[in-house]
């Protein structure tokens, strides 16, 4: 077994364990922390695939910004204790159904389409996945999706401001 494979297996174990911990803990703060650990593990996966830029972006955006806001809201509302029964009654059957669909699709792909499981050789150079290369790809090859995403985010931001702004004279 190569070192990469051992690392991958250990990390995969951690990733699955933290994901399960997030699902099954009865305390929202613990759930959030498990999710942070999961994000960190995924970031290490990216490092293993020699993409440090994506790895650190993952940590900055998900663990650093989004989950801090999650924790902030959980603490602000004092909503640590999760209710024992699910709030939406139709959620569980739907989730089981969708999970079965996902398993069927994955099984089909793995069994009947050998191409997707073929090993991809990674270019192990210093340049691969470097910030400059990611930037060049982002602004040349993927310019349109990148710009569309940015417009989408901008409109979401404008929407939030419109929803939360106080009109003049409405104070107190």
């Amino acid at each position: 077994m190569s070192i990469d494979l051992i690392l991958f297996l250990v990390l995969a174990l951690v990733a699955v364990a933290t994901a399960l911990g997030m699902l099954f803990s009865r305390n929202a703060v613990y759930s959030a922390l498990f999710l942070v650990l999961n994000f960190a593990t995924v970031a290490v996966f990216y490092v293993l695939l020699s993409a440090p830029f994506i790895a650190l972006t993952q940590i900055t955006v998900y663990a650093g910004a989004i989950m801090v806001l999650f924790l902030f809201v959980i603490m602000l509302l004092g909503a640590e204790r999760l209710p024992a029964s699910p709030a939406l009654p139709w959620q569980r059957p739907l989730a089981i159904f969708l999970a079965l669909v996902l398993i069927a699709e994955t099984g089909y792909l793995l069994l009947f389409r050998q191409a997707v499981t073929a090993t991809v050789s990674l270019p192990q150079t210093d340049v691969f996945g470097s910030p400059s290369q990611v930037g060049t790809a982002l602004f040349n090859q993927y310019l349109l999706p990148f710009e569309v995403t940015s417009v989408l985010l901008l409109s979401a931001m404008v929407g939030v401001i419109v929803l939360t702004v106080r009109k003049k004279g409405e104070r107190e």
Partner: protein, 371 residues
């Protein structure tokens, strides 16, 4: 990957950790001494000459103090929080280059623990992790003051991360690289980035003050209103860890600021004698630390809504403008004439003056409304 390389990393990492620990101890002495001088006092002067043994006495006291855990606290997170606060600070210091590569025992040794090609991004991502310690400490203490402090800390840090991130972009743009070593070597030919982007350096320093929760932005642990908030339930060594994190953060952030804007280890004669590099960097760190202490001695704590307004309405737009100005200057310098680079400091000063004018006007309007 040979054994010597691993030994090199281990030795460098240990050296860095011991430097930060010793730096923490003597930074407390330095701060108390400098504050005392500013307030016309003597400061610590009993333990040893000039009070130099005071940090050791403090450490002994903290180790032997009783540790309390509140009975209703969330024990696991309560113990975890101080550790989560300290570790990212030490990790952050790993990318700072302390000098040009040197030859030792026939091998080339980089003077930083890790010379990453995404160094700046690494710093921002680790800095964003550092919030968790404070937030979790506030939550797990099961204390109203503590949780208020935790909430304040998370809101403040997330807000100022934006301005800080944009301030990080400026040296990246100027150097064309995220590697800290490249940023320093670029400053050898272009001059320190604080000269090219003075307002950017100022925004960086202000935003880092808020990010590490130092006065006048020490809202998370405002003693008078929240009774030290997030660490009010902590005692003994656990409290010492929070204390340590704060002071190590100061050292690390000053090292990063010196590297990004003040030429890092550069200085006269550093090409000939590489051992001067760490000395220059240390000198710059000490000067910047004095600046932080000076700010603490001078300014009162600012109100929370003003803190948020400053971060979102002044620093963030100004930093965005500076990014635009810097990019414009670089493009003009490439396309027209290298001398056009001087448009960057000029326009950045204009942006800074505009920002100060906006604050001034807003404050005067409030004054007028009150009358």
């Amino acid at each position: 990957m040979d054994a010597a390389l691993i030994w090199e990393w281990v030795i460098k990492a240990l050296f860095l950790i011991f430097f930060l620990l010793g730096g923490f101890a003597y930074l407390t002495w330095y701060e108390r001494k400098a504050l005392a001088r500013i307030q016309v006092r003597y400061g610590p002067n009993r333990a040893g000459p000039y009070g130099l043994l005071q940090p050791i006495a403090d450490a002994v006291k903290l180790i032997f103090k009783e540790e309390l855990t509140p009975s209703m606290a969330d024990k696991v997170i309560f113990i975890l929080a101080p550790i989560v606060t300290v570790v990212p600070v030490m990790l952050m210091a790993a990318t700072v280059p302390w000098g040009p590569p040197i030859q030792l025992f026939g091998r080339t040794i980089n003077m930083s623990v890790a010379d990453l090609n995404v160094g700046v991004l690494y710093i921002t991502s680790i800095a964003s992790i550092a919030v968790y310690g404070i937030v979790l400490a506030g939550w797990s203490s099961n204390n109203k003051y503590a949780i208020l402090g935790g909430l304040r800390a998370s809101a403040q840090m997330v807000s100022y991360e934006l301005a800080l991130g944009l301030a990080f972009v400026l040296p990246i743009l100027l150097a064309g690289s995220m590697r800290l070593m490249d940023i320093v070597t670029k400053q050898a030919e272009m001059g320190w980035f604080v000269l090219i982007q003075p307002v950017g350096a100022l925004i960086f320093l202000i935003a880092t003050l808020a990010e590490i929760g130092r006065a006048p932005f020490d809202m998370p642990d405002a003693e008078q209103e929240l009774s030290s908030s997030y660490h009010s339930e902590y005692s003994g060594m656990k409290f010492a860890l929070f204390f340590m994190a704060e002071y190590e953060k100061m050292i690390v952030i000053c090292a990063i600021a010196a590297t990004l804007f003040f030429g890092g280890f550069l200085g006269p004669g550093v090409d000939k004698w590489p051992w001067l590099g760490p000395i220059y960097l240390l000198a710059k760190i000490i000067v910047l630390l004095f600046l932080m202490i000076w700010v603490r001695a001078t300014f009162p704590r600012i109100r929370y809504d003003r803190l948020m307004a400053l971060g979102w309405k002044v620093l963030l737009p100004t930093a965005l403008g500076l990014v635009f100005v810097t990019a414009l200057g670089i493009l003009l310098a490439e396309a027209v004439n290298p001398a056009m680079l001087w448009i960057i400091p000029l326009l950045s000063l204009v942006a800074g003056v505009l920002a100060v004018g906006v604050i001034e006007r807003a404050l005067r309007r409030k004054e007028y409304a009150r009358r």
